[in-house]
């Protein structure tokens, strides 16, 4: 057998074509390009502050925001009364609380979404039973649930978690249902022929085959979950990034509000990168 791989065979049998090599080389300058817009925004912001286009209490300087962020995360927390929303030194506590609320609700949404999606995609019976119901529920705007949740649970983190759950659920359900339904029939036939019983097909074929699309759904769902976190933190709690921002608004601390926005942006970005890295690692087979 003298045949070799197309392209240049690397030791692991990985094909390195000139195209991929070139793409790798180009990546670095492109990543730097992504910094251009944030820097531009920062520059405009600084100028707007210098020229005092808006009163400085409403438009603080980037520097003030930066020191607020520094104090938020690295300042010493002063002992004080309970029931007060702290800024100084309370960053990690607020962040951890928000992350945990989001994580809990998202995790439940993922599990329920996967089960529901697999059921809808795999079983005609389940689809006939649940499709009209889920499709109708899906059409309800996320924020339309807020008044009901507020009446039942109050404006507090519990309501917030329920909203996160609802918001995060649909992307998982839709991605799972669609991708499972699109699994090639040949893959199912092959598995059946090789001895996989019907009851195990979902684990052996449907789930792995659909995984790349499901992961895309999970990413969307996580982004949504993170954006919903603030809803439950607008009342009934003194910790969480949202609670901090709400308190900052009441106290007229604009720089602190902006710190909250930066925290949301940063965490959302990092979470998506992590999920993307994980998905590259585990579904590298589908990389194009």
């Amino acid at each position: 057998m003298t045949e070799t791989l197309a392209g240049v065979a690397a030791p692991m049998g990985v094909v390195v074509t000139p195209a991929t090599a070139a793409r790798r080389g180009r990546r670095r300058p492109r990543r730097l390009l992504g910094l251009l817009v944030p820097l531009l925004v920062l520059g405009c912001w600084q100028l707007a502050w210098q020229w005092e286009l808006r009163p400085r209490t409403i438009l603080p300087s980037p520097h003030v925001v930066l020191s607020a962020a520094d104090a938020f995360f690295f300042g010493r927390r002063a002992p004080g009364l309970s029931g007060v929303v702290y800024f100084k030194g309370a960053g990690w506590t607020h962040l951890a609380t928000s992350l945990s609320r989001c994580g809990q609700a998202w995790a439940i949404a993922v599990v329920v979404g996967l089960v529901l999606g697999l059921g809808l995609g795999l079983s005609r019976w389940v689809a006939d039973l649940l499709d009209p119901f889920t499709n109708a529920l899906r059409a309800v705007p996320l924020f339309a649930w807020l008044p009901l949740a507020a009446v039942w649970f109050g404006v507090n983190p519990t309501s917030g978690k329920i909203l996160i759950f609802i918001g995060a659920l649909w992307p998982v359900v839709v991605a799972t249902t669609d991708s499972v339904a699109r699994v090639p029939a040949a893959q199912i036939e092959t598995a059946r022929m090789l001895g996989t019983p019907r009851s195990r097909l979902w684990r052996r074929v449907y789930l792995p085959s659909a995984l790349p699309e499901i992961v895309t759904g999970l990413r969307l769902s996580l982004t949504l979950a993170w954006t919903c976190v603030i809803i439950g933190e607008l009342g009934g709690t003194t910790d969480g990034v949202g609670a901090m921002m709400n308190a900052a608004r009441e106290a007229g601390r604009t720089e602190q509000i902006i710190v909250g926005i930066l925290v949301f942006a940063g965490i959302g970005y990092v979470a998506d990168r992590v999920l993307r890295l994980l998905s590259r690692r585990f579904i590298s087979w589908s990389a194009t």
């Binding site: 045949e3 791989l5 598995a191 995984l211 087979w285 589908s286």
Partner: protein, 250 residues
């Protein structure tokens, strides 16, 4: 219970898709360990016949049995490999080959897999993903994946159709060697007369749709077939007459 397993018998197999009749009373009898090459005009239902034998396609009338057991659905005792390949893209070559034995809770999966990796010349690519392999390697892996279950019956649906001519010729020699070591009743569907004559012990010719078997004859070449056979005058004249028959049938 027969002595050597893998006798395939089809009698009066009929199949239509809606109002379109595809198979019209196909009769076949392949004795254990032999290779039947099926030729026929394009679109005559060769693939459908193979899918019927694999148990993927229900049929309207007739019977298909392997060692007397009627075919009612897909089974690890009947392995089929199609042109597009049937490897799972998310599994490595090793995992793909081990898939069948593992699904059946077999022991010595690792030994079976190592043996087949060796036989396919893919030992060095055991941990590669299917997309990292060349077309020929992929088809060898797909055949190994099916043979891992040691099926009495192997069904090949134009398995080398997507390969270039040289690779195909190498694959023919490789398959001959593989099946010599692992006697398996094989039905090979192809449109390539060279392939049919190089690999088949028997040659079946299907008529145009709705198809039935019009000729069934033995191939008069022994085990020592290979690229040199292509130049054999007997081969050349047989090829010409078979080609005439195929073209006449369409």
């Amino acid at each position: 219970m027969t002595a050597t397993p893998g006798r395939l018998v089809a009698t009066g197999v009929c199949k239509s898709f809606g109002t379109l009749p595809v198979l019209d009373g196909v009769d076949l009898d392949v004795s254990a360990g032999r290779t039947l090459a099926l030729l026929g005009p394009s679109g005559c239902g060769k693939s459908t016949l193979l899918r019927v034998m694999a148990g993927f396609e229900p049929f309207d009338a007739g019977t298909v049995t392997v060692d007397g057991e009627p075919v009612t659905g897909p089974s690890p005792t009947r392995g089929m490999v199609a042109q597009a390949g049937t490897l799972f893209p998310w599994l490595t070559v090793r995992q793909n080959i081990g898939f069948g034995p593992r699904e059946q809770g077999g022991r010595d999966v690792a030994a079976t897999v190592a043996d087949l990796l060796e036989a396919t010349g893919l030992t060095d690519f055991a941990d590669a993903l299917p997309r990292q392999l060349s077309g020929g390697m992929r088809q060898r892996a797909a055949i190994a994946q099916v043979l891992a279950n040691q099926p009495p019956l192997l069904l090949l649906d134009e398995p080398f159709g997507a390969l270039d001519a040289q690779t195909r010729l190498r694959m023919h020699e490789w398959v001959r060697g593989l099946l010599a070591e692992r006697p398996t009743t094989t039905v090979l569907v192809t449109h390539d007369v060279d392939e049919a004559l190089l690999l088949g012990d028997q040659l079946g010719l299907l008529s145009a749709r709705p198809s039935k078997v019009v000729t069934l004859r033995d191939v008069p070449f022994g085990a020592e077939r290979g690229r040199h056979t292509l130049a054999d005058p007997a081969f050349v004249s047989l090829k010409a007459s078979v080609l005439d028959q195929v073209l006449e049938a369409s």
